[in-house]
């Protein structure tokens, strides 16, 4: 499904957070990398700083593993990649796998990017139900880089879970302040 045109950048996930529809839950997970160069590791990947990045240091595929304490609903992943600054380090083919543990992973999305220049939103929806997946573990695998580069740079990754919509009842969110006022006692 790769198109010759460049992959457009998505919206800044911070905007999404402000809408209250999603919540970043990376802090609730245990992250691990298949390999990294010293000084360019996990911290740089999760530090909210687009200047710093993770640089892998092994053989492909490079893996980012995200393990949750409990089964968590994940709605989307956001990855920041920038071809202009990373060139051959920019990932071009990414596979997202989920499962219960390392032996149980199943690929649910594969995504090809052409010269990305910003945030890439990867929504993780169950094929059948169109609901966000609920899983213990997510693995992001970089299968190939641009220009056939060996190692990859990844600047930032964010994981989002859908926010519980209404405080009561299984209805979607209220939109007006009038409704929201009465939604809960604080």
């Amino acid at each position: 499904m790769a198109t010759p045109s460049k992959t457009p950048p998505g919206a800044d996930p911070k905007q999404l957070e402000r809408t209250g529809t999603v919540r970043e839950i990376g802090s609730q997970a245990v992250w691990s990398l298949s390999s990294c160069k010293p000084g360019f590791g996990m911290d740089q990947l999760r530090d909210d700083n687009l200047e710093t990045y993770w640089q892998s240091d092994g053989s492909q595929p490079h893996l980012v593993n995200i393990q949750f304490r409990r089964r968590t609903t994940v709605k989307m992943l956001c990855i920041y990649a920038d071809y202009k600054s990373d060139e051959s380090y920019t990932p071009s083919k990414i596979s997202v796998r989920v499962g219960n543990n390392f032996h149980n992973l199943q690929e649910i999305r594969q995504l090809e990017m052409v010269e990305p220049s910003g945030w890439i939103h990867i929504s993780l929806l169950n094929q059948r139900t169109n609901e966000p997946i609920s899983t213990f573990m997510i693995q992001i695998a970089v299968l190939a880089n641009h220009q056939n580069g060996r190692d990859t740079h990844m600047r930032q990754i964010k994981v989002y879970t859908p926010v519980e919509e209404s405080s009561i009842g299984k209805y979607p969110r209220c939109t007006t302040v009038d409704f929201m006022m009465y939604r809960t006692i604080r």
């Binding site: 998505g10 957070e17 402000r18 809408t19 209250g20 529809t21 919540r23 839950i25 802090s27 609730q28 999305r109 995504l111 939103h121 990867i122 929504s123 929806l125 094929q127 059948r128 139900t129 169109n130 609901e131 879970t161 859908p162 926010v163 519980e164 919509e165 405080s167 009561i168 009842g169 299984k170 209805y171 979607p172 969110r173 209220c174 939109t175 007006t176 302040v177 009038d178 409704f179 929201m180 006022m181 009465y182 939604r183 809960t184 006692i185 604080r186």
Partner: protein
């Protein structure tokens, strides 16, 4: 200087003086250790020691000191009364406090009742009783019984409680207007933080008494204000004095009873009063140790002679310099005898209140005792401004007995006392109504107060809180902004304001408030709560959590901080920690219905519906007027399949608060789930009128139409719903449409915010329980 004196004299009195100095300077631990080292037998010393114990949270010891050790026979309350004499009501109040904190709420309530009967001007026991969930009748409590002239002569303490009250009333009345309100505010604010907790379950000893919380709050606020108290003594006297002349005009009209005729007795009376006041001021300003020696002589002199008039006056003159400003104020006022009549009263009131602390409740005209009593009173006054009243009462008693056979004075006193009592009664009724969550009534009572009282921060804050509890956030917000305008230094009650703004989603106002409060006072939990609310509104939950934790650090007795923290944890899905927080809040204050509500919500999320229902019902028992609570109970009952009960509950909710759209919405959804489509549609149509912009309404209407098979209408409503909520967390809406029109989907699914999602072609089952049937039906249709 006090230390020098003590080294010199080594008497109990000097010891007492020294300890008081320490206590006043905000170092109760010093006073505590000092007093412990020496055996203390006189009641005043014991009282001071007990107060220190309480502040240092050594409650058992405090109790022991007051009551007598385990080895000795435990004294009954009557014994205490006899022993402590005038300061009995304060002692009892303190004892009640201890009982409540140690979870003996029943005894605590009893103590408070006793102390109130002894001294109806004490606001704080009344407040604490309200918190405990007792419903003390303010009319009973704040009663001014007949005040015979004879009672002006110092009667023994328990001649007649009624007489005592009347005496106190007099003084108290005098004091009440100005200081009471301020002091009340002080006390109430501290208790106000915890006023949301009020359940009658003071019998339910399993719950930590909210009283404890409020008392703790009281003590803590007092302790924290301990260092301020010393300063307060002076400012208070200053204030009172200043309030005196200033209060003349308002005092006169508002109480209207005190006539303006000057009388020859007035100047002397005034002098008496000022003298006494001075004396007291002197006594109270222990910090002005420079005068200790002198004050001692003052005491002894005043003790020795009934003719307190000239002597204290002289003394006060001499000791004038050390009180801040009050002497100066005093002198000019004293120099103006003519219009002194009202002044006198106000002065009495004011000075009484200010020096009330110092004022001993002395009923006995024995000055020596009176003086130490005064000191005691000073301490007790810390807990209640009524002590001020008592003081003034004492002073009044003192004066009349001293020199003034003028019967007009007692009359004025009584008249003034009456008016103050009336005010107290009104305030008490309003407060009690609020505490039992009769919010409408509370609003009525409080709004009917005379305007100068109405426009004070205390009253407005409490009315605002009443509106808040009724979920009328607009009104509450209006009132609170008024409070901010009038008294921008007020922090108590601001946390309710911040939550109001949170509900109304006014983030600009909220962040301004947060900044202002945190700049003003970093040590009060309310400021941090406001800051936390601000960030919570911005959905920065981690930061909000940090701030709420800070609020708890600042004041572990502030139940609301725990509750707010619990809510934040719920929003970040850390339900275990949220549970712990809510439980903490309840531990601090078992009448904090918000915490019960929070627990219910967590259980609801965890689908433990019966547990949820129990907790919601508990919250409801505390606050029966909350339509939001009823709404939630209705939904839970529906989840428990008790749809009829659910409908009934929702009906009740709608009756109580017809403006709550969510109740109607949930009622409609229950009707829908029960297949009563017409009724549901009717509800929803009404809702549409009330809240035309709410996408949920259209969504539900669409679902109903879909079920009814009127697909075109359903589609119309779904598209409206989507229009109103383009950000589409409403994949449910999309799916609802999807399931209906599979082939024709692409055209409809505009604004898809999942750029990479393949349009789901299958009729997936929606998670919405209500819709399960519907969708299977639909998918069958489609397939």
């Amino acid at each position: 200087l006090a230390e020098r004196l003590y080294a010199e004299v080594r008497s109990e009195e000097a010891l007492y003086l020294l300890a008081t100095c320490y206590y006043r300077s905000g170092k109760p631990y010093k006073a505590y250790r000092l007093l412990k080292a020496h055996s203390c037998s006189t009641p005043q010393v014991r009282f001071l020691l007990a107060k220190c114990c309480v502040e240092l949270s050594k409650l058992a010891e405090g109790e022991q000191v007051l009551i007598g050790g385990v080895l000795n026979k435990q004294k009954s309350q009557d014994d205490i009364i006899t022993e402590f004499g005038d300061s009995a009501s304060f002692t009892l109040s303190l004892l009640g406090h201890i009982y409540c904190k140690t979870d003996r709420a029943a005894k605590g309530a009893e103590c408070f009742q006793r102390s109130l009967t002894l001294n109806p001007f004490l606001w704080s026991p009344f407040q604490n009783l309200c918190h405990l969930g007792d419903k003390p009748d303010p009319d009973q409590m704040f009663k001014l019984s007949a005040l015979p002239n004879s009672t002006l002569a110092p009667p023994p303490l328990h001649i007649t409680p009624s007489q005592n009250p009347s005496h106190r009333l007099d003084t108290a009345l005098m004091e009440t207007p100005q200081d009471t309100l301020e002091l009340n505010r002080l006390n109430l604010e501290s208790s106000g933080k915890l006023t949301s907790d009020l359940s009658v379950s003071y019998i339910d000893s399993s719950l930590i008494s909210p009283e404890t919380g409020s008392l703790l709050g009281n003590t803590i606020s007092i302790a924290s204000a301990g260092s301020l108290l010393a300063k307060q003594n002076k400012p208070k006297s200053g204030r009172n004095l200043l309030g005196g002349p200033a209060a003349l005009s308002p005092l006169t009209p508002s109480f209207g009873i005190v006539p303006l005729e000057p009388s020859p007795g007035d100047p002397t009376y005034l002098q008496n009063f000022s003298a006494t006041m001075e004396t007291q001021t002197t006594a109270s300003s222990k910090k002005s140790v420079s005068r200790i020696g002198q004050s001692k002589s003052v005491f002894s002199q005043s003790g020795n002679s009934r003719d307190v008039l000239p002597i204290p006056f002289n003394q006060s003159q001499t000791s004038a310099p050390h009180t801040s400003g009050s002497p100066q104020v005093l002198s000019p006022s004293m120099s103006g005898p003519p219009n002194v009549q009202p002044r006198r009263s106000s002065r009495l009131f004011t000075s009484a209140s200010s020096t009330a602390k110092e004022n001993s409740k002395k009923l006995k005209m024995k000055f020596p005792t009176k003086i130490p009593n005064r000191k005691t009173k000073c301490k007790s006054a810390k807990t209640s401004n009524s002590s001020n009243l008592n003081e003034s009462l004492d002073i009044l008693r003192l004066d009349p007995s001293l020199s003034l056979p003028d019967t007009r004075i007692p009359q004025y006193q009584r008249a003034a006392a009456d008016s103050v009592m009336a005010l107290l009664r009104e305030l008490g009724r309003g407060y009690q109504a609020l505490c039992s969550y009769n919010c409408r009534e509370a609003i009525n009572i409080l709004t009917s107060l005379p305007p100068q009282h109405y426009n004070t921060g205390w009253v407005l804050t409490h009315i605002g809180r009443a509106y808040f509890e009724l979920a009328e956030y607009m009104q509450a917000e209006r009132l609170f902004s008024e409070v901010r305008r009038i008294e921008s230094y007020r922090v108590e009650g601001m946390e309710i304001y911040s939550t109001t703004l949170w509900h109304l989603q006014k983030d600009v106002a909220l962040s301004a408030l947060a900044k202002d409060l945190t700049d003003m006072d970093k040590n009060c939990p309310e400021a941090w709560c406001v800051a936390g609310n601000c960030f919570s509104l911005q959905r920065e939950h981690d930061i909000a959590i940090k701030f709420f934790q800070r609020a708890i650090q600042v004041d572990p007795g502030f139940a609301y901080a725990y509750t707010l923290l619990g809510h934040e944890f719920v929003l970040t899905e850390e339900l275990d920690r949220a549970l712990a927080c809510f439980r903490n809040a309840i531990r601090v204050n078992s009448r904090h219905y918000n915490a019960w509500y929070g627990l219910g919500m967590i259980y609801y999320k965890q689908e433990k519906f019966s547990l949820a229902e129990i907790h919601f019902k508990k919250a409801l028992s505390i606050n029966p007027q909350s339509s939001v609570l009823l709404c939630h109970i209705g939904v839970v009952q529906h989840a428990l399949k008790k749809s009829d009960a659910a409908l009934e509950t929702l009906n009740r909710a709608i009756v109580i608060d017809p403006k709550n759209p969510l109740c109607k919405f949930h009622r409609a959804s229950i009707l829908f789930a029960n297949d009563k489509y017409k009724a549901a549609l009717q509800e929803l149509e009404e809702l549409k009128q009330i809240v035309p912009k709410e996408s949920l309404v259209y969504f539900l209407i669409g679902k109903v139409y879909k079920k009814l098979g009127q697909t075109h209408l359903a589609l119309m409503n779904f598209s409206w719903a989507m229009d109103l909520d383009p950000k589409g967390a409403n994949n449910q809406i999309k799916e609802a449409i999807d399931k209906r029109y599979l082939p024709e989907d692409e055209g409809i699914l505009t604004g898809d915010h999942f750029p990479h999602v393949d349009d789901s072609q299958d009729s997936s089952i929606m998670t919405d329980a209500d819709d399960t049937q519907l969708h299977t039906a639909e998918s069958d249709d489609v397939l």
